[in-house]
C-alpha cells in the first residue's frame, strides 16, 4: 500500500501541498516547544538542557520502530523508501562544519528559519551566514567537487554496511537511546541550573 504517493494512493500533484502542510506543522511544533531559542539548542553542548538530544533521538526511534512495524504488517514497502546516498568524507567534513556552527550560533538550519519567523535577530544573522556560506561553496564548487562527489558508497544503510539483522539493530539502538537519556539527565542534574 505505502508509500502513498509513489504507489498512487495520493495523486502526485499533492506532493508539494502535503510537504508545505507538514512543514508548517513542523515549524509550529518546533517553535511551540522552544526550539527557536538558541540557548535551549546550545544547552546540549554545555550540559544544561538536553531537549534537542531527547527530541530528535526519540523522533528517530519512533519513526524507525513505526516503519518497521508497518513494513512487517504490509502497510508500507520499505524497499521503495528513499535512502540518502552516502558520500563518506563529504558527510564527515560537512557534519563537523555543521556541528561547529551549531555550537557557536545555537541553531541548526531548520530551527534558525523557525527563529527568523518569530523575529530573532541572531537567527537573521545566522541565516545571512548560511547564505554567504552557500555563495562561497557555489563559487568554489570546482575546488570542492572531488570531495563533494567522491567517496560515494551508494544508498547504503547501517544494516547493509554492518550486515546485521535490522530488528536487533533497532533493539540495541533503543537501549543506547534510553541510556543516553538517562546519562544526559544525570549530567543535567549535576550542572547548576541556568535560567534562560
Amino acid at each position: 500500500m505505502g508509500p502513498l504517493i509513489p504507489n498512487g494512493v495520493i495523486p502526485y500533484e499533492w506532493n508539494n501541498i502535503i510537504a508545505i502542510i507538514i512543514g508548517i506543522v513542523f515549524g509550529f511544533v518546533l517553535e511551540a516547544s522552544g526550539f527557536s531559542s538558541s540557548r535551549k539548542l546550545a544547552g546540549v553542548f554545555y550540559g544544561y538542557d538536553f531537549a534537542v538530544l531527547k527530541v530528535f533521538f526519540t523522533a528517530a526511534l519512533v519513526s524507525l520502530i513505526g516503519i518497521l512495524y508497518m513494513d512487517y504488517l504490509g502497510y508500507i514497502n520499505m524497499e521503495q523508501l528513499y535512502v540518502h546516498p552516502t558520500y563518506l568524507w563529504g558527510a564527515i567534513i560537512g557534519g563537523v562544519i555543521m556541528g561547529v556552527g551549531f555550537v557557536s550560533a545555537g541553531f541548526c538550519p531548520g530551527t534558525s528559519l523557525c527563529a527568523v519567523a518569530i523575529g530573532k535577530i541572531d537567527a537573521i544573522v545566522y541565516v545571512i551566514g548560511i547564505m554567504v556560506g552557500i555563495f562561497i561553496f557555489s563559487e568554489l564548487y570546482t575546488v570542492f567537487q572531488p570531495l563533494y562527489e567522491g567517496y560515494f558508497y551508494g544508498n547504503i544503510t547501517l544494516m547493509d554496511s554492518f550486515g546485521i539483522n535490522r530488528y536487533w539493530f533497532v533493539f540495541v539502538f533503543t537501549i543506547i537511546a534510553i541510556l543516553a537519556f538517562v546519562i544526559s539527565d544525570l549530567i543535567r542534574k549535576r550542572r547548576k541550573k541556568i535560567f534562560y
Binding site: L61, I65, Y72, Y167, V170, F171, T174, I178, F181
Partner: protein, 221 residues
C-alpha cells in the same frame, strides 16, 4: 487539581515511556519472521501474462524497424554462437544465463524504451519475460515465434496461392518489401536490375531510297 494517584503515576512518565519503547523494540526482535514475497504480486503477473501487449508479431517488429521507430530495443536471449550466426539488425545479445548480470540491468530496467525479447522460438524469450516481470521491470514484450517465425514470415515469406484473399497478397507484398529491406534479393528483382543495363537499341532509321524509276524508253528523239 490532578488526581493525586494520577500525579503519582505521572512522575514515572519517562520511565513508562522508555519501557514502552523497549517493549516495542523487543517486539520487533521477537516477532515471528516470514519470508517476504519479493517482486510483483502473482495477480499482477497473471494480468501481465494474459495481456495482449505481451507479444509483438514479426510484422509489427519489421514495420517498427523499417520506420526507424526509436522507442524500443531488442534483446536477443540466445547464446553468442547463435547470435553471431544470425540476428535481427541492431539487436543486443544478452544470453539467458546472463540475464540477471549487472551489465544487463541497464538495458532491462528502464522506463525509456520498450524491451522486446527474442529467441529462436519464443520459449526462452518468454522465460526472460517472466523473470524480468517478476523483478518489476517495465514495458517488456516478446517476439511471437522468435527468430524462426521471423525467418518464415519476413525473410522468406511464402507466396500466397491464387485462391487466397486479397489481404494475404497485401501481407505478402509487405513482407516481401520488408525482406528486401533486410537484404534479401529476389530473382525478379535481379531481372529488374538487369533491365537498365540493356542498351536501348535505337532503331536505325531506314531511309527508303527511292529508286529512280527507269523511264520507259520513249521512242523517237
Amino acid at each position: 487539581m490532578v488526581n493525586r494517584k494520577v500525579a503519582k503515576v505521572l512522575t514515572f512518565r519517562y520511565k513508562i515511556l522508555a519501557g514502552i519503547f523497549l517493549l516495542l523494540a523487543a517486539g520487533l526482535v521477537l516477532l515471528p519472521k516470514y519470508e517476504k514475497h519479493e517482486g510483483i504480486k502473482p495477480e499482477e503477473l497473471l494480468s501481465n501474462a494474459i495481456s495482449p501487449e505481451r507479444y509483438i508479431s514479426t510484422d509489427e517488429l519489421a514495420n517498427k524497424i523499417i520506420n526507424q521507430d526509436p522507442s524500443f530495443i531488442m534483446i536477443d536471449v540466445r547464446n553468442e554462437n547463435e547470435f553471431n550466426k544470425y540476428s535481427i539488425p541492431n539487436s543486443i545479445n544478452i544470453p539467458l544465463k546472463k540475464l540477471l548480470d549487472e551489465d544487463a540491468i541497464g538495458y532491462l530496467n528502464q522506463n525509456q524504451y520498450d524491451v522486446i525479447f527474442i529467441s529462436n522460438d519464443h520459449f526462452y524469450a518468454d522465460q526472460a519475460w517472466v523473470l524480468c516481470n517478476r523483478l518489476d521491470y517495465k514495458n517488456l514484450r516478446v517476439l511471437k515465434g522468435g527468430i524462426n517465425n521471423w525467418y518464415l514470415t519476413i525473410i522468406n515469406p511464402t507466396k500466397p496461392t491464387e485462391n487466397m484473399p486479397a489481404e494475404d497478397f497485401e501481407l505478402y507484398s509487405f513482407r516481401k518489401s520488408a525482406s528486401m529491406f533486410f537484404g534479401v534479393v529476389y530473382p525478379e528483382q535481379l531481372k529488374i536490375e538487369k533491365k537498365p543495363e540493356v542498351k536501348k537499341v535505337t532503331p536505325k532509321k531506314v531511309i527508303p531510297i527511292k529508286k529512280k524509276k527507269k523511264m520507259p524508253v520513249e521512242g523517237g528523239c
